[in-house]
Symmetry: C2
Subunit: 387 residues, 2 copies
Amino acid sequence: MITAATPSAQVQAAPYAARVGMAGAGQLARMTFQAAADLDVRMQVLAGTADDAAVRAGAPYRLGPPDDLAALRTIARSADVLTLDHEHVPIQVLERLVADGHVVRPGPRAVRLAADKLHARRDLQAAGFPVPRFAEVHDVAGVAALAERTGWPVVVKARGGGYDGRGVHVVRDVHEAAAVLAAGGAWLAEEHVDLGSEVSVLLARRPGGETAVYPLAETTQVDGICRELTLPALLDPQLELDARELGIAIAEHAGVCGVAAIELFVTTGGGLLVGELAVRPHNSGHATIEACRTSQFHNHLRGILDWPLGDPGLRVPAAAMVNVLGAGDGRTTSRLPRALAVPGAAVHLYGKAERAGRKLGHVTATGPDPQAALQIARAAASELQGA
Amino acid sequence: MITAATPSAQVQAAPYAARVGMAGAGQLARMTFQAAADLDVRMQVLAGTADDAAVRAGAPYRLGPPDDLAALRTIARSADVLTLDHEHVPIQVLERLVADGHVVRPGPRAVRLAADKLHARRDLQAAGFPVPRFAEVHDVAGVAALAERTGWPVVVKARGGGYDGRGVHVVRDVHEAAAVLAAGGAWLAEEHVDLGSEVSVLLARRPGGETAVYPLAETTQVDGICRELTLPALLDPQLELDARELGIAIAEHAGVCGVAAIELFVTTGGGLLVGELAVRPHNSGHATIEACRTSQFHNHLRGILDWPLGDPGLRVPAAAMVNVLGAGDGRTTSRLPRALAVPGAAVHLYGKAERAGRKLGHVTATGPDPQAALQIARAAASELQGA
């Protein structure tokens, strides 16, 4: 006797709790899409290709480049809120969507602070936030002039567009600077900070200002790419307090809505300097899926939808996350069972085509302390990377 | 400068780590689909309607009733493994798919034990497992004959197809029995067990027999529907050991592959009797998403794909889950923000159209002890139910 096997045939489809559009369809969109199902949020993405990570995970999509105003308008028209998984939508396009009456969260002002590194340095410095010494540079002489003040090496950065270390170059002299600038484009140079550590202040914010701050995470970057993260960061309590307050103040200043990550440099002298700002779910928040009462992806949706934010506190004593980078042999996915054999590792693959050094996934582990968790996450990531 | 915004356009799409087909597209398929993205598993479902929970969450699908051999064949042909989110696929259809050479996990033998309650009672009794006293009944006289041995009330159950208490009736006398049997169909009657508590042994199993057993959960049923669950169950250690061993032995006997839940009655005398058997992710395992190192949905996929199983251990001291049932006023989804305002509650909505008493979602909370977590989960579920 088969009873009521297709019960929903008898009743009308339920309305969604909310509809969100997202520009971008990478791994951040993919994981936000996974979280959206919990909240019965329909989420449509603007994808570059039908193979993009979020599309592969089942997200409804439209194809188009990040500056495709027509596609974004179509997505926005069927959404309560339009949001972003990257900072590549031109500010003028976002402003146009806002002018059309669409709800764009975060808004253009916050996105510009994340997208335009020179603007961010100037704006945050003018607002009194501690930033590394920097200068707009048009030529090698400009880089050399900064180095006069700060000493070599100097960091030369593309003004916009870069991510995962693209467009970020540590140059040791004018010859190296010249080689970088030869590529053309708009650049800034800034002092190379002598780092004690790097921490990420991850938070979520609602339009009214309610803010949920995650426990601070310590990140390890290699070649400008976040490679590893431990949670919580083991900092001096006063420094931790200062870092949280600095992160909150910057998020307020930027008018962030949804999740933002403020990367901070802890100098060897124990001071804090603002690194990069992201106004979307961030690599430094992936461990929140397993480690926190509310993941950054759930809280991004809750923030942009103006719903009560979820508790960002840890469920566990500690956690660690290690990114999985493509080994370049095309066999990362086929090594998945080996990584799954590492006890306690939570593997996340993004379904992305492999390229050497490309972020293909991450591994999170939780445990009694950050280092114990890190060992597990590293072991599983190494298996995937064939190391 | 926009660099590499659509990187996947330049490279070939990656192959999936694996492909799974699933008969059924309800909330279990939906949550399995959410987990599938972590493992880069493509999962296609057989759905009754395009509004089914898993389809709404983005799962690729084919439409058809559970006995649609042609549709199941099409799904199986593009999958490494075919699995199930319910027990409504007729055993002959499963056997036909196996004869065709498709990999069906769990196999027909295990599914029959979950689908046919009379067969399960007979088979498990013959194998020496402790089951309540029961009898196949064709008429009121049969029910009365069982009651002669066990006393009233007696439980009259539809032999197959029922779930969430459908087809399960506690009858106090021959008149009530007659009213139930008047509906027609195949029935069994069994003794009404005087319950101390009910526990669920949730486990995952690979084809070779490797088994991961979750911490025992205590369930509270109302009208045959699982309403609440606390994790871990606080049992006498010997009883807990006995329950685990009984669950493992039944799973082995049934040849389970993937996740199974063995519901056990703990009698007031402290004995164990086998209740229902499910050979798929189960309501009693939803809290594993937040509470355990590996969720039941991830482990179901890992089990059926013959990948190393994930650690089923708790990440947290304790957890609780409360189902969200439709209030019947059509406003459950609109009350979501109120539920999200309950600190620490992890809300999962299934996107199902509302009907009074229908399972529309669940809430999980984790905490220092099961009762503390239960209070949080209850509070959020009550908000959704408008209570």
